[in-house]
Amino acid sequence: MIFAICILITFLGILATSAAKSAKASLTVLSVVTFLNLVAVGFGIIHYWDENQNLYFWSNYFVSDATSRTFLILINLVMVGFTPYAINRVRTNQLAAKQFDLFVRMVLIFFLLCLVVLFSNNVILMWAALEGTTLAVVPLIYHQRGQASFRASWKYLIYSTVGLSLTFLGFIFLAQAMQQQAGEGAVTFFFNEISQLNLQRSIWSELGILFVVLGLCSKLGLAPLYSWLPETYDHAPPSITGLLAGVQFNCTVLMLFRFVPVLSRVEGGLLQTLLIAIGLVSILVAGINIVITKNYKKLIAYASINHAGIIAIGLGAGKSAYYGVILYVLSNALVKAILFFTSGNIKARYGTKDMSRLQGLIKDMPYSGLSFMIGIFALLGFAPFGSFIGELMILSRLMEAGNWLVFIALGFLIVMIFVATGRSVFPMIWGQPQLEPHQRSESILSLAPNLFFLMCLLSLGIYIPTMGNRVLLEVARVLGGP
């Protein structure tokens, strides 16, 4: 029901942007669609919420369960932050209004396809929708028509296509495993039916796990196919980077969430080893690059790789770490939205992404400086944010399971990233302003989305309402947690 309403609202929004003649009209459409989607989700939470109920609809192609509903709320929250940010940018810069109708239309198409990913119960449909989100976001990355953004969007397209092709190959191998085990008629691509098959270990299932994990990890920007992420996040418009990190990233995480319980029953050891190895290598790569980079947007991009690595390790660690992973995923989306939207404001004001040239942000841009500072604290996993609790739960699970080597390596890498990020970012936040700003005043609209995200982040770390906690526990239980 909520899904159908959100799809309908977004679809009507896409049609409305086709008729919109000005940037103002497109902004109105975007605001209305975001608001109505939020109302629909809120109404659904209040009236139809039952975390244990799995509703299969439209010939089983779609499912509404605790996982899809949690991610629906999350991506809607990111959209709620995206909309005022876009309004503020268009108001403060007339150049941003150029081709804004096309921009909004592509954003809404992207969002609609993300909704399909979230509610899909079919592997192939989910894959096709995820590939669709990639194709929809490519022109958005290249929206500013610069050579660097052109290269970045091309790299993103090629890496994503290769990653998703490898994932598709993984599905084919899993289908081969099903056929070998139970005959031709047993082959299915519906998640609920795959779970019931009780797939046994075979060469095909192992190949399937390998390719599905490798493919999805490359879509998350994890090693070895990670190099698209820093470039894309750096050169895409900040609003689009926020959507990539806060929305599309979580659609891929959801796909991984759907596969983890199925694959861990087939060959848990292989899945665990793969996820932990990929996670650790990715965090190492991210750590080294965080030490080197002087570009604050790239630094946040590498921090995204680090976060994806921690999520992979958490999924590999299993059991009680699953709840931590969910908290971490939710916090991660909000932190990225805060930091990327704020970095857009900073870039607009100073015209540079070089951290060594920026100082005294908190004096010169109090709203954005404060948001950036708190965002960085949450990024580094400070208490009392949700990321802190999430990281703590993953680390304690590693200790509990006796994975001492992974625990020590992860602990060391987290400290390294903490020091490297602090060393680069803290002088940028404090100190005496040096650069002459391009824009004078800072609109309250630039603070509104960040304030909202900060409240959600604090809530994840300090107090999660009972109903919300029950939902998160259910998501963790479906993953295989206690």
Binding site: L135, V138, Q144, A148, I158
Partner: protein, 207 residues
């Protein structure tokens, strides 16, 4: 079946070993047509999903895609010669080692079923070769070729399993593929209009 698989491998090597993108695109079209022959020669009954898959293979991937790419490459004036693989012995040896490895993989998985071993081996050899080409290509055109070669190998892997997707899913896959090609087309057109002095500095980050 064997003859079609051998023909597929020949059509697969045509774009890689021949230094002309026109012949390469013809090779790509030939591959998908051969894939259509391979699927019809297996024990499938004629159905709507199969019909759609045949249309996808013969008309979309076999005719439409090469036609779109030929027209756009002509329009942007890309030189006729385009090596997917550097013309030296080391790279050629590397390619044939990968083909050998792929074929061996097929026999490893199906030691007692010659037909399936050959199909699986051909698909694996194709996939490894496509990834090899992709890793060597810095040019956009070459990367597009490599991705299309990879797609064709994956389809051959898919045919190992007699399961057919439903009409809706088959349609979704075809639509996504068509949009991918349209995005490739836009990129190639944009590549030709993007001059070296445009946007060489930092992006403006307007939105």
């Amino acid at each position: 079946m064997t003859i079609w698989l051998i023909a597929f491998m020949v059509a697969f090597l045509l774009p890689i070993l021949n230094g002309s993108w026109r012949l390469g695109l013809i090779g790509l079209g030939l591959q998908t047509t051969l894939l259509a022959v391979i699927i019809t020669s297996s024990s499938h009954e004629l159905s709507l999903p199969l019909g759609l898959q045949l249309v996808d293979l013969v008309f979309v991937r076999g005719v439409l895609v090469p036609a779109i790419l030929i027209s756009v490459l002509r329009r942007v004036g890309i030189s006729r010669d385009h090596d997917l693989l550097p013309t030296n012995f080391i790279y050629w040896a590397g390619l044939f080692i990968l083909i050998g490895m792929g074929t061996w993989f097929g026999y490893l998985l199906y030691p007692e079923d010659y037909g399936r071993a050959l199909q699986c081996g051909t698909a694996a050899a194709g996939l490894l070769s496509a990834l090899f080409v992709l890793s060597l290509q810095a040019a956009g055109v070459g990367q597009i070729f490599a991705i299309l070669l990879m797609e064709n190998s994956i389809i051959l892997f898919e045919f190992l399993n007699p399961h057919l997707h439903s009409l809706a899913l088959q349609l979704a896959i075809s639509v996504v593929f068509i949009f991918l090609i349209l995005v490739f087309r836009t990129f190639l057109l944009q590549l030709s209009t993007l001059t070296s002095n445009e946007g060489t500095g930092e992006d403006k980050d307007l939105i």
